[in-house]
C-alpha cells in the first residue's frame, strides 16, 4: 500500500512570498490532517478534513493560511504571505476514519528567510 505523499520535500522562500504544499493521502482514507511542527515541538494541528469538508480549523491562522481538499482526495495548503515564524516542517497525515490511527507523510521543510 502506498503511503502518504507530500511535495515538495524542501522549500526556501523569502518573507512575504507565497508558498503551496501538496498532499496525496492513502487511497480510501476519508480524514486528512495538516500539521505544523516547529523544531523541538510536537505537531500542531492546523486543519482537519473529513472527505472535502472541514472538521476543525481552529488553529489555522486564517489571515495567511488556507487549505482545500476539493474532491475529497488530495489537498493543498497555502501560506500567503509567509513570515519568518512560519519556518517549520509541514506534515500531512491521513486516517481511514476520524479519530483512527494516522499515517504521516515525510513532510515539507519550509525555511523563510
Amino acid at each position: 500500500e502506498a503511503g502518504v505523499a507530500q511535495s515538495p520535500r524542501y522549500k526556501i522562500i523569502e518573507k512575504r512570498q507565497s508558498v503551496a504544499f501538496w498532499c496525496n493521502p492513502i487511497s480510501g482514507h476519508a480524514t486528512l490532517y495538516w500539521y505544523q511542527q516547529i523544531l523541538g515541538q510536537g505537531p500542531k494541528l492546523l486543519i482537519q478534513f473529513q472527505n472535502n469538508g472541514v472538521v476543525d480549523d481552529s488553529q489555522l491562522p486564517k489571515d495567511r493560511f488556507s487549505a482545500e481538499r476539493l474532491k475529497g482526495v488530495d489537498s493543498t495548503l497555502k501560506i500567503q504571505p509567509a513570515k519568518l515564524e512560519d519556518s517549520a516542517v509541514y506534515l500531512c497525515a491521513s486516517s481511514q476514519t476520524e479519530g483512527a490511527e494516522q499515517y504521516f507523510g515525510p513532510g515539507t521543510r519550509l525555511t523563510v528567510t
Partner: protein, 109 residues
Amino acid sequence: GQQVMQIPQYQHVQEGEDFTTYCNSSTTLSNIQWYKQRPGGHPVFLIQLVKSGEVKKQKRLTFQFGEAKKNSSLHITATQTTDVGTYFCAQNTGNQFYFGTGTSLTVIP
C-alpha cells in the same frame, strides 16, 4: 488552546535501563494515541487506548490509560538503541486533536 503536558521533556538512559513517559490532560479524553518520531523522521503510530484503565503491551512497550481518562503512560523495559526518538501522546477530545510536547529519549550504548 488545549494544553497537553508530557514529562519528562528529555530522558537519557543507559542501554538496558527502563524508561517511562507520562501524558496529562486537563480534560477527559475520548481516547489517546501514542506516536514515535525518529530524528529527522515523521511520527509513526504505536497504539490507541480507548477504555478507562486500559493496559496494552507491545513486546517491551507497555501503555496505560488512566482510570479517569485524563492521563496515560508509556513504559519501555530494557531500552535498546533502536528505541531512540521522541515519543508523543496525542489526545482526541471529540473533534479536536492535540499532540503532546513529547519526550525525547536518548539511549547510551
